[in-house]
Symmetry: C2
Subunit: 211 residues, 2 copies
């Protein structure tokens, strides 16, 4: 639990979308409570004035500090709280661990969360207004990439408990949310990836998973 | 300059490609010297045994430590050296600065370096063996996104010297290499982005730019 008081902060939140979930899960792991401002992304609320004034890129989540300064990008927001509330460390301990967590966070994000998101955004009819233009061939090209990364991760998880090592880290948060996102993106992770399944079942038991 | 001795390390390097350049520019800013192992990416050397054994994702650069441990992902490698050699800080100072550098590094990477790279990889005939399948519509969709981000950055640089604040950071490294990459990607950044031009000309004068 954190001794900091974040009651004067605002976290503009986007519900079940992957990036808002990443930050809420991170805060839950830290035992940090930040007032949420819900934004209805299905009604394209992230393109409204409230968000655009704070993030011209019109993406969520957005953190506003009591002095009006703003941070965007999920991982940047997480890193801010990591610096203020280092325990438990979710970005690694010593120099090598910090780098290993960064490496696996990025691998999970670029090769898994991102590829699944591309399949979803470029193929799902509900995304027509979100992703302009939708390029179906690009969506399809990402599906086997997501599965190839899941296979690589399965091999890694044969030898250790979590994505970046034997300790839970922000890389697990990115990876579990990517795995969840496979269903709406209509990507089927093969059942035979048993180590990935063992890890997935374990991470979903953490209270932070419901945050 | 660093007091550390990295002579037992190996940095598998990829010449003029953007990611290997990012790490070399970072090391140069730090005054760190690491033995390079050149890999000929034009001959697809990054898919050869030497690299694949160390990075199954077959990407460069790859850092090998004297004990055989391996780090990949440019920003993870940079962060490793930042932790060992904190001066000058290239990932920010206090908690907010660290988060702001992370935010701008990510914005520059996801909205600029990545979009330019997608245009290059999906449209350039020389990339036919690199990007399978090439999806021309996706390449084209990224060109206006790169220019839109350059415009946003131009507005930001009206009010401060560097991408993430008044101090040079890893976000400038990502952004300058993205700007350079526009030419082979056939993306023309409008001349009227005068603040971006002022920044670009200044960063290209740094000795690290030639690393």
């Amino acid at each position: 639990m954190s001794a900091h008081d974040f009651s004067g902060f605002k976290l503009f939140d986007g519900g079940r979308a992957p990036n808002p979930r990443r930050v809420r899960m991170f805060l839950s792991e830290k035992g940090i409570s930040v007032p949420l401002v819900p934004v209805d992304m299905e009604a394209l609320g992230h393109r409204g004035e409230e968000v655009t004034a704070r993030n011209p890129l019109q993406r969520l989540p957005v953190l506003e500090l009591p002095d009006g300064r703003v941070l965007t990008e999920s991982i940047a927001i997480c890193r801010y709280f990591e610096a203020l509330c280092p325990e438990p460390p979710l970005f690694g301990g010593d120099a090598f661990e910090q780098a290993a967590v960064e490496m696996w966070q990025r691998r999970a994000e670029l090769n898994f969360l991102f590829t699944v998101a591309q399949a979803f955004r470029h193929l799902h009819p509900a995304m027509r207004e979100w992703e302009v233009p939708q390029v179906a061939d690009w969506g399809e090209a990402n599906k086997p990439r997501a599965i190839a990364f899941a296979e690589l991760l399965d091999g890694e998880l044969a030898n250790r408990r979590f994505v970046a090592g034997d300790t839970f880290s922000v890389a697990d948060i990115t990876a579990v949310i990517a795995a969840d996102f496979c269903k709406p993106a209509r990507i089927r992770i093969p059942e035979e990836f048993a180590h990935l399944r063992r890890w997935y079942d374990e991470v979903r038991e953490r209270p932070s998973y419901r945050a």
